[in-house]
Every structure is written in structure tokens, then in C-alpha cells.
Amino acid sequence: MTRWLLIIGSNSDIGIACARFFASKGFNVFLASRNIELCRKISSDIAIRYSVQTDYGHIDLEDTNSHSVFISNLQFSPDVTLISAGLMYSQLEAENNFQIAKKMIYANYLGVLSFSELIVKTLIKNNKGTLIYIGSVAGDRGKKSNYIYGSTKSAIETYTQGLEHRLNHTNIEIILVKPGFVDTKMTIDLNLPKILTAMPGEVAVEIYSAFINKKKIVYIKPIWRYIMLIIKLIPKFIFNKTSL
């Protein structure tokens, strides 16, 4: 039986990489994002490469009113749903322009929450499915360099904790991915240290293996788990003096 992967935010580099990797494992893929023309291209790329069924549709996470129509139009109940949509503006922009902060909160949290609550209802009906959310190491501890973005991601983490609790007696699995630095469109202008930076393809492999092995929280480069552990353990009176 063929399984379907639904990707919300399929045009992100992580979205594309996951779409390809899951398709290479035999998944049919449904791509959804705001840019339908790019969805169409990625969809035919995957159909040619992997000879699987692909489809695509328009979704805007910020437009929460459209989510229920989108879900009722789906012709299948997704076996795996990956929400890889997300926005990252710099801390400075977000501090100085509330509209920017609001946009991030809408895309990264409110939109995800709205969509997620609706898709969970479908999954509960069928009592199956895996939901994959993209959190961030930036959500592990607030710091001056990116706490507005970070707070949207820690909201996701708290949300997934609660959702997991709620779905404990079902067959529905929840995975939270904390990618650390990834070499994507989002980060092209940052000078990222190579050793801490994953390629989107690596992220996809890790996400797939988390799905197969039913892992709950995934750090893509294991080193991030330790870095964030240390950052979390630094006492406040020292932490607040650092430039992190």
C-alpha cells in the first residue's frame, strides 16, 4: 500500500529534501506552499526521479481561515505530515518592527497551531499518522541574539509536548526536529561554522530515520544536543554577561 507524505511549506530547502528522500523510499508526496508554481516544479521533479505519485496545492499558514478547506480537499489521510514552513527575520528587525515579529509568530506558531489542530482531528479519526514539526535550538534558551524567533520555536516545543501527551493513547506519533544550523536559503548570508552546519539532505535522512525509529526529539548534528545542554546549564548571572 502506498503511503502519503504531506508537506506544509514544501518549498523550503528542508521541505524539498524531505520530499525527495521520502519519495526515494516509496512515499507519494503532496506538496503545499504559498508558491504554487514552485510546488508544480518540485512535484514533477519528484515524479520523474522516483516514479511515485505527486500532487500539490496552495496553502498559506498565516491565512488560518483557509486551513479547514485545504484539509477537507485532501484525497487521502496523510501517513506523515511535515510542517516545514517557517520564517526567520533577524532579531534587530523583529525588535524594531512589530509587524515583522507578528509575521514570524503567525507563520511559525499561530499558523502551525491552526493547521495542526485541524489535521490532528483527521488523524484521530483514522487513528494513524506521524506529525513532524520543525523546532529550533534557538528555542532551547532565550538569548539576546534571537529570542523573538526563538520564542516562536519554544512555543512549538511546548505545543508538541502537550499534543504528544494528549495523543498518548493513539497510534499517532509526534516528532520535533531541532535542526541547528542548516545550509539553506534562510541562512545563506550568515557565516555558519561548517562543523555545526547540516546540509538539507542530511536533515531529511535524519527526519526519515526518526520516523522509522519512532524518535521524539531530533537534533540533526548530535553535537547540538551537548552545546544546547551546556548553554541551558550556564547560570543566569554568567549567561546574561555573554554575547550569545
Partner: protein
């Protein structure tokens, strides 16, 4: 970030700017693919990474025409299409190059004498020549840009979407015939006698002298008809670190060459080999370029018109043997007709490809060999070059004036600039 070609010489600092970012167009830059050209043709202070543009766009089962973005690797095309019975018209010695790179180098393969260059299988492509201008290039549209871009080393714009023609094969295996040739005369004869073979190539033992000069194994190949299209998934071996630079000494090369030559016992031998072994023997070793040590190496590939080939090759091999500059891999090949592309390397004649460790003596040697080759109407392959001089280039490629004026006409010479174009075109 640090970038270098496959020869790891030279290495430079280069900043990546995304193709979608308008700041890219404020200064000169070069599009970069998988950095498998050996020299400095994809090196510039600013580059845009085409590997990120790698979608398959469409495929027509009837005609075999495949449309892809330029950052797709040949290996990806083979992986998807060989199991379905389709193969690329031309493949070089590695499958880890992009389609854009294949066009920019107008690559050739073991079938050049029959099928010509990669551009023969290119139907059309979209070429971005400025921030807001993309033109369709084919034999019917913007022929001038088509003929200057195929083989144009990335200096005429950004190759974006490409349509190529695949052809039918019924196996992933190759029937390989090996001829053991004891000297250069026998080697040339083997090529001429087997000119009807689809694929042919010779490996030359450059350390041989006198009556053994030009000793070689000539290999020909045809796709098999055994209907076996199931690809193997082989584990690759990775060279873990830079070998100390004394690793490739005269002794080790001699040993390798001895084993390689004597592995074939009969003077003629037929066997069936996997396409990977036949076309891409070095692809099974990741980072094989590290065996030359951390100073890197350079490749040197030249071609001579047929009438001067025998005498010219003899002379070059004699010089190499005298200088004990024998290369690990020396590949000789017969080529077919020259095409119309302005900077394409092939011409009807023979080419020899050699590796040299990067050191002063070898650079000097290559420079004097280049002068000799140009003197007898030959030329050097730009994809493997990092040391040719402006004078040598301008003496050997006959369409340079045309190439320059075309770049000026479309205002490309201020935008698409590499270390190589600075060296060879005074950009």
C-alpha cells in the same frame, strides 16, 4: 568559503551569493557547479552555486528528451534513467559533474570519434545573460550564444534550464575488448582498426622508453544486449587524508603501471564490465585527488591534428620519459570532427591527458610542452588548465576574437569573469 577545482590548485577564498539575490549582479562573478573541472575555470571572488538548481522538469518517453535545471548531476540522470533503458549521449570520465558544467566544457567522452561532443545532444537551454534577461539558445535561436556557451567555460552567462536527448540502451553492461599494444605505432593502429567501435580509449604507460615507447592497453566498448538494467549499489572507498607528497614517486607509478599492463595476459581480450567500471573507474574512490598530496596537482590534456599526432605524441612521450615525469594516468584517445562551438577543445586527431604533481619543475615542463604542441597546431583543454598563458591561448584557439566580441556585444565580459578568463582573456 575556500574553493578550488578538482586539482586543488589554486585554492582561493570566494563568497557565495544566491542567484535570486540582486546583489549578485553588482560585481563580476562566475557560476559554479560541482567543481570537477581541474583548474581555475570556476573560481572567482564571488560565485553563485548552481548545485542548488537541480530539478528534473520533464521527460518525453517518445523522443527521449529530458528537461532539467543546470545543477543536476549526470550521476542523478543515470540513476533515474539507466534502469529505464536510457543513457546520456556523451559521458566524461566522471559522472559527478553538472549538466551546466558539461555544456560549459562541451565535454567529450570515449565515443567522440563517432558521436562528437556533449553539445550534440543538447536541444536547447535558457541562458541568463543579465539580471533581467534570459534568452532561449538552440540551433534555431541565438545560435551565436549557443555556439559560444557550449565550451564557453561559464563566461557567457548562466545556463539555467536545459533540454537534452537521451538514447536507448538495453543494458547497464559494456562488452569491453582490450588490446595489448607494445608501442605507439601499435597503439595508433589499434585505434584506426577499431574506429567503428562506439567507445574507445587507451591507457598509456608513460615510463616506457625506446622501442616500448607508447606501450598501452587500448580498450573499446559497446553496450551489451543482455537486458540487465539493474544498477548495483556499491560501497565507495574514500581517501581519508592527503597522501604525503612522496607517495606518487617514480617507483610507485612504475609498479602501478607494471601491474596494470600485465594484468591483461592475452594480446586481445573480451569481457563484460559494468558501465561504472568502463566509464567512471575513478568514481568508486571518493576524493581520489588527495593522493597527490596537499599541494594538489594539475591535469594537462592536449590534442593534435591527426596528421601531426603520431610525431607529436612520440615527442611528448619521449620528453616525459626523459624527465621521469610519468603520470599515474595517461589517457590517449582518437577524436572525430571538430564542431562549430567557438572554444570547444576536440578536433580530428589524438589527445593525451596527463596528471602532474604541482611543483615548479612540472609547471615548467608543461609550459614548454604547451609551446611545442601549439607549434604543431595543437591545443590544450581549458577544463583541465590552470597554467596556460595568455599568449599560448591566443595562438592556439582560432575563434578567440569572435568569442571576445560576442561577450562585448552582450555585455558579458563585465559580468562573468573567472580566474581563468582573467589569465587567458585579460578580463
Amino acid at each position: 568559503m575556500k574553493v578550488s577545482g578538482w586539482g586543488r590548485y589554486p585554492v582561493i577564498e570566494s563568497k557565495e551569493i544566491s542567484l535570486s539575490c540582486s546583489s549578485l549582479w553588482k560585481r563580476d562573478f562566475i557560476p559554479k557547479g560541482n567543481l570537477r573541472s581541474y583548474g581555475d575555470s570556476a573560481l572567482s571572488e564571488i560565485h553563485t552555486d548552481m548545485l542548488k538548481h537541480n530539478k528534473f522538469l520533464s521527460f518525453d518517453e517518445k523522443s527521449g528528451i529530458l528537461s532539467i535545471e543546470a545543477g543536476v548531476l549526470l550521476s542523478e540522470i543515470i540513476e533515474v534513467f539507466l534502469p529505464k533503458g536510457w543513457f546520456l549521449g556523451v559521458v566524461p570520465g566522471t559522472k559527478f559533474i553538472t549538466i551546466g558544467g558539461a555544456i560549459a566544457s562541451d565535454i567529450h567522452g570515449k565515443n567522440h570519434h563517432k558521436d562528437g561532443c556533449f553539445s550534440n545532444f543538447v536541444e536547447s537551454f535558457k541562458l541568463q545573460i543579465s539580471e533581467d534577461k534570459i534568452v532561449d539558445c538552440s540551433r534555431n535561436s541565438h545560435l551565436d550564444l549557443f555556439e559560444s556557451t557550449c565550451g564557453g567555460m561559464g563566461l557567457t552567462g548562466i545556463i539555467k534550464e536545459v533540454s537534452i536527448r537521451l538514447h536507448r540502451v538495453s543494458s547497464k553492461n559494456i562488452v569491453q575488448q582490450t588490446f595489448k599494444c607494445n608501442n605507439l605505432k601499435e597503439t595508433f593502429n589499434a585505434f584506426e582498426e577499431n574506429s567503428s567501435a562506439t567507445y574507445s580509449v587507451a591507457w598509456i604507460d608513460c615510463l616506457q622508453k625506446k622501442n616500448k615507447l607508447g606501450r598501452s592497453l587500448v580498450m573499446t566498448g559497446e553496450f551489451c544486449n543482455d537486458n540487465n538494467l539493474k544498477l548495483d549499489t556499491k560501497k565507495k572507498f574514500t581517501i581519508p587524508f592527503y597522501f604525503p607528497s612522496f607517495f606518487l614517486s617514480k617507483l610507485t607509478v612504475k609498479l602501478f603501471n607494471f601491474l596494470y599492463f600485465n594484468r591483461v595476459r592475452k594480446s586481445e581480450n573480451t569481457n563484460i564490465v559494468d558501465f561504472e567500471n568502463f566509464f567512471f573507474p575513478l568514481d568508486s574512490i571518493n576524493h581520489w585527488n588527495k593522493i597527490y598530496g596537499d599541494k594538489g596537482f594539475f591535469q594537462f590534456q592536449f590534442i593534435l591534428p591527426k596528421k601531426n599526432s603520431y610525431v607529436g605524441m612520440r615527442h611528448v612521450l619521449e620528453v616525459l620519459a626523459e624527465n621521469n615525469a610519468g603520470s599515474f594516468l595517461a589517457v590517449l584517445k582518437l577524436y572525430g570532427k571538430e564542431n562549430n562551438n567557438l572554444l570547444s577543445f576536440p578536433m580530428n586527431g589524438y589527445s593525451l591527458a596527463l596528471d602532474f604533481k604541482n611543483n615548479k619543475e612540472n609547471i615548467k615542463l608543461v609550459s614548454s610542452l604547451t609551446d611545442y604542441i601549439i607549434g604543431i597546431k595543437g591545443r590544450v583543454y581549458l577544463t583541465k588548465d590552470s597554467v596556460m598563458t595568455y599568449e599560448q591561448f591566443n595562438k592556439s584557439y582560432k575563434n578567440i576574437a569572435k568569442f571576445k566580441s560576442l561577450r562585448e556585444k552582450y555585455n558579458l565580459n563585465k559580468t562573468f569573469v573567472s580566474l581563468q578568463s582573467k589569465r587567458l582573456l585579460n578580463d
